[in-house]
């Protein structure tokens, strides 16, 4: 066998190249298993930063489709529930400048809210159940509905379809364990209201 290879150049060439191709193919196959990708990792990273309200205010059916769209070059400022914090995190991940929230898609809420159905006014039309992206509304046709407060993401999508306007968006009460002092207003605002210590005035302004 060895004699045949060294005697005939064509066989030697075939064996050498074929052997190399086999070895490299095995190495690449091993690497393909070792570095196997689960989905598109960039989409997964973006999706992890989105608030998962599935509210559709960005114009996509949910957070993951919007993450897909961002990875294909869509604007990152279409998510009102996430607000500026999410935009900054996305800009940081994608190494692009952070724009302000696009007002066309809604405004950022200052307080977290949750939907509440005034149950004696509910006529049981199930329209809010169909609108809810996270299935947080419980009920059946012609029977009263109610909201599972823990599941509600506060996306406002159920308010519009209600024919009798019996859904309110109530602020989520802060339990004692989570309570913090409210953050002070920005210096510019304090300065205008005249309640700031003189040395704390913003740069470039004079005393009022």
């Amino acid at each position: 066998m060895l004699e045949l290879i060294s005697q005939s150049p064509i066989v030697a060439a075939l064996v050498a190249l074929g052997g190399m191709a086999l070895v490299f193919g095995a190495a690449l196959g091993f690497a393909a298993v070792k570095f196997k990708l689960e989905g598109d990792p960039l989409v997964a990273q973006i999706d992890a930063l989105l608030p998962q309200t599935q509210c559709g205010q960005c114009g996509y059916p949910g957070c993951r489709p919007y993450a897909q769209a961002i990875s294909e070059g869509d604007a990152i400022n279409k998510c009102p529930p996430g607000g500026q914090a999410t935009i900054n995190a996305l800009a940081n991940l994608l190494a692009v400048p952070a724009p302000a929230l696009d007002a066309e898609h809604g405004v950022e809420k200052t307080v977290k809210t949750v939907a509440y159905i005034r149950e004696d006014e509910c006529i049981g039309c199930t329209k809010c159940i169909q609108a809810c992206p996270v299935d947080a509304i419980l009920g059946a046709a012609k029977l009263m509905h109610t909201v599972i407060a823990d599941e509600c993401t506060g996306c406002d999508l159920c308010v519009e379809p209600c024919p009798v306007d019996c859904i309110d968006m109530l602020p989520v009460p802060t339990p004692l364990a989570d309570w913090r002092w409210p953050a002070p207003p920005p210096p510019q605002q304090l300065w205008q209201s005249g309640s700031l210590i003189a040395t704390d005035r913003p740069l470039g302004t004079t005393s009022p």
Partner: protein, 191 residues
Amino acid sequence: MQEFAVILLSATLVNNFVLVQFLGLCPFMGVSNKLETAIGMASATTFVLTLAAVSSYMVNTWILLPLGLEYLRTIAFILVIAVVVQFTKMFIEKTSPLLHRVLGVFLPLITTNCAVLGVALQNTAKVRSFMEASLYGLGAALGFSLVLILFSAMRERLAVADVPAPFRGAAIAMITAGLMSLAFMGFGGLV
């Protein structure tokens, strides 16, 4: 020890692959718009170049030469390079999806980067030891990275400079590359 340093210095500066031998100009022009991209490309190419130099040397000495198959060099080296690049692509795709997206088509195009094949062929043209061959590959990679990063830093500044209208974009980049090449001629005779 000294001859190793000479080989490294010669491959990096004196016989710089891009600016003196004019190999690998395609990524040099294509991926030098942003400094961060250039750094990513430089590290990917460094990895590929060094690994390709080592493995093509091994293929040449242990497979091609004993069997008298020197005429298969080019095709065998291309095979080696393609495998190394594919491996690098998988690795980057897994570890840094963003860099993978930014490098885009230029990552698989390292396969056809003539600097990579150039290193492998030049290593066989001169009789070198294993250590010398790998150092030559590393030196070439360092030289490529140095020039690519310098050039992209310059282009970032050129983008905001007040360039006369006919020279904007690619034209001023070509002129800059030419001037850099002239500057690198100054290293001639260093070793």
